[in-house]
Symmetry: C2
Subunit: 335 residues, 2 copies
């Protein structure tokens, strides 16, 4: 689901209004509202999702190569399967390409998709190609899980877990979006920085260009997590969605979240004079997983960044005064 111009919450409301009244068959366990639709299939479930990456909405051509466009779009789509704890079965690709995209560029784009598909063990088994006025890459992905993990199972008393990183991709996009001025500041910063921090900008940009769907990590949460969502729109908004779906209150602890941030994010934010916490809360495109579960079941790969209480909404427990700040979709310090 896309952050751009429609929040996911708005899109879901609209989709439910558009399609929610259709009679559903007994085969359909979950329709609109989770990361993927769930169809019953014998003893296991099929997880099914679709995602689109549109030029000048989700990316600009100058910010990445054609192979990156394909790679990124594929990983973004597969992240919805990771968020259900599913193993991928296969994907379909629907490409719209503008007339200025030649055969070589199209092959590079497909190479990027194929590379991501190979990494995730998810072969692309069909698709189509059409002309249009801008590039758009639509990916439908099908996965399988014995016990898919939904957004709606979190319980008061659970911990809030973060699997993967947040903020790096957004910091990379900030560098790309106003490249000249920000890169100058970054270069000045890096010149003074200790050796280990000198490629922080490059690392953040690579996180945006080449994100990774956390398929194995998601599968390892099955039987441990009570709820999972992928951080595609930003930690703040996605925590709020998870709280809504599970009908609980989700508390993000600022101290714990800050301690989970990567040094490269902190370095770039320091150079750009912005608070890495804001970038971590509002930046989505690392495709981390946000999960809930009991403390005793937390896997090694998950860091505890908060807790689940009874109530509603998502909140940040601030370090300075321990007061709560409401988190929600559409509240973006960086917009």
């Amino acid at each position: 689901m896309s952050r751009h111009t429609l929040t996911e919450r708005e899109a879901i409301a609209l989709l439910e209004r558009l399609f929610g009244r259709a009679p559903m068959s007994r085969r359909i366990a979950v329709a609109i509202g989770d990361d993927a639709a769930v169809l019953r299939s014998g003893r296991s479930s099929l997880l099914w999702t679709i995602d689109v990456s549109v030029e000048n909405v989700h990316f600009k051509r100058g910010w990445l190569g054609f192979a990156d466009v394909g790679y990124r779009a594929f990983q973004a789509a597969l992240s919805d399967l990771a968020a259900m704890g599913a193993r991928p079965l296969g994907a379909l690709s629907s490409l719209v390409v503008s007339a200025d995209v030649g055969r070589r560029e199209l092959l590079a784009l497909g190479r990027g998709q194929a590379e991501a598909a190979a990494e995730l063990g998810c072969p692309i088994i069909g698709g189509n190609i059409s002309r249009g006025s801008e590039i758009s890459v639509t990916t439908a992905a099908l996965g399988e899980a014995k016990r898919p993990v939904l957004r709606r199972g979190a319980r008061p008393g659970d911990e809030l877990w973060l699997v993967g990183d947040v903020g790096l991709a957004r910091a990379g996009m900030l560098l790309l979006s106003k490249a000249t001025a920000r890169h100058r500041r970054l270069r000045a910063y890096e010149a003074r920085a200790p050796t280990g921090r000198r490629d922080a900008g490059h690392i953040c940009i690579q996180h945006w260009r080449r994100p990774r769907a956390l398929i194995s990590e998601g599968a390892r949460l099955v039987g441990r997590a009570t709820a999972i969502i992928d951080v595609s729109d930003g930690l703040a908004g996605d925590a709020s969605r998870l709280a809504d779906a599970s009908e609980v209150r989700v508390l993000v602890d600022e101290v714990r979240l800050r301690s989970a941030l990567q040094p490269e994010l902190i370095a770039v934010c320091s150079a750009l004079k912005i608070d890495p916490l804001d970038v971590a809360l509002e930046g989505g495109e690392d495709y981390a997983l946000l999960a809930c579960g009991p403390s005793r079941r937390r896997p090694r790969s998950a860091r505890c960044i908060g807790s689940v209480l009874s109530g509603s909404g998502a909140f940040l427990k601030r370090e300075a005064d321990r007061r709560l700040r409401r988190l929600g979709a559409g509240f973006d310090h960086l917009a």
Copy 2:
């Protein structure tokens, strides 16, 4: 698959080049190259397809309403399931809408999709909405069949069957695409025509705006047809693709095909002074089914329009001199 700018043959070749080298799992029975991908699932097969309808490529806004855009895109996608003899399980919808599309238009578009979904018994169970510079409607559809019918099973000795109509939608589009001049000719014709022919133009336009995926008809071909393809790109091109996939020669008999044409097509072509045979051969968007099978198994709904021989390629057996004219994709009298 789209006829526009890339023929389906070219698109398949490109997709195979892009994705064909990926290692496939045992679950995947058919990947790129048929109407839908085939995944093994217990005792039956899952059929899976994706299709896109792009503004100014597949339709122009003046030619149809927003509800028609949604309806048409959905039926076009589901036609790929009809062509496998599959029953639909559900669909995902990915909408890209431009900034000038308001909430009311978007709801109308969704209403058209929902209407088609209800008619075909295929609930829309997920999707997303994004901004873009033009409207595009992508539909992924999943179906099920105990014994899916592929393109590649036709055998010498089979008959060539047509289920549904060809040419009407193309004639409707011809009326819409140069509306003023052509409508004037049509109105003059209709004024002289017998009462039953006076709405021929309207009927053809409705065939283009509101095509129907032949799901039930496709399912009835299972156990009867040896091969099926849907006529999405034009009878000539699709007959040629079926011949290639089955490694046979497909012969379309001009006399039989002409006798299968609808009176409304003949009326409109007469008004426009074009040969309805050309429109029937090159026009695709009625989503008829072209199938092969032994004479004794032909269902009532199928008309025999030719035969299958050993050899290769698709040919028209001409009425005038009984000579063969090669049929193929990309050969379009009306382009």
